[in-house]
Symmetry: C2
Subunit: 217 residues, 2 copies
Amino acid sequence: MPVVLAKELARVLEQEIIFGEIAPEARLVEEEVGERFGISRSPVREALRLVEQDGLVIRHPRRGIWASPVGRADLDEVYSCRLALEGLAAEQAARARAPSHVAALEKALAEMEAAHARGDVRAYFQGNVDFTDVIHDAAKNETLRRLLNGIGKQALRYRYLAYASAPELVTMSLSGSKDILAAVSQGNARLAREVTERLIRRSWDAIGAAIERGAAA
Amino acid sequence: MPVVLAKELARVLEQEIIFGEIAPEARLVEEEVGERFGISRSPVREALRLVEQDGLVIRHPRRGIWASPVGRADLDEVYSCRLALEGLAAEQAARARAPSHVAALEKALAEMEAAHARGDVRAYFQGNVDFTDVIHDAAKNETLRRLLNGIGKQALRYRYLAYASAPELVTMSLSGSKDILAAVSQGNARLAREVTERLIRRSWDAIGAAIERGAAA
DNA sequence: CATGTGAGTAGTGTATACAGTCTACAGTAT
DNA sequence: ATACTGTAGACTGTATACACTACTCACATG
């Protein structure tokens, strides 16, 4: 299986940004990144274009690239967009209502439940990401998928942080995900949108509160 | 003023795709593009990354890049997303309600009116694009702006095509734009969203009908 | 005829070198 | 002390060369 270095590198950098191994607003220098991974600047440049596309870095032409910031203002930007688009995705998924996607949602939910029962936040997070990815697939709209990718990764930083710091969010997320699955499997597009938007709003509020607490510390 | 070739080239290629000088699904070969513009493959590659980000080309790794398709399925993908995001932009613009943005909207609308009065579709189109850009600025949400850029250019192909082929759309667009301006200048966020969504829906229907007519020809 | 294999070529992906821009800092003038 | 200018170095952007992959076509085999 041949690999495109740029794409692989983009994936790694994104993970590092999401999980905080690359700090918000940290400078990314092409040569340094290349040295770290033992590759030349060409695929680094291309990878950084991809990471930029996903909103995780900001480029200032001829001056450099920085990891994008994390904070209340950024959260509000990302979540207002996410509210609009995740609601649309759920609606379109419910309309399409493909059995294989419903099965995949059930599987992801089972994994989330098991992780929750054993108190494993990281596994819960991964299950929840999988659940969200299935909804995006199930919407069968490639343009929407691309847009969701554009903010989904930004949102992941907040989602991970939130689950780790506010465990009641995990319970709320699990319950909301059950509602989404029910609406999608019944083909109820309007309900799917509503419960998705409700869950996003609650997450937004809870993450916002966690950030404000963080800011006060 | 120094220039980044990749960015300039991306702009040119996007214009050519939007106005049909590069046909839907046409193959774009790096070396050929470089020869056309007298530059090397490096900035061509970077430009094509940017154009891909805006949804106007599709890359198949190790195989090449093609202009993205135009058709009913693509229209529906783009417009369902646009409905969600343009509505949000108008809502946020009305909330922000900055006098300089209201003034810019009035100016753009005046230009649209003058163009309409003299039957100049291309100038009308440009005025309408300017109007839309002001709304995006006025929303003061950089993430949303980035997402709208991601589909706005895809939508431009349809918008231009539609105005040229269905003149009643121009009248409808002008009227809808007046409604949006009124709602934004009153700071009525809910109304701004509603009238924007109504206009987008009508455009979607009209463009869809124009495509079906085109398909039958 | 249908299918498989191998060679050649087109074109993408990566490495390296060079040119240009920006930033930081030292030196000089007021 | 402050402001301005010039220089060096860091780093981005572009050009070119090489390596690798995918596709096409000709030929061989069943």
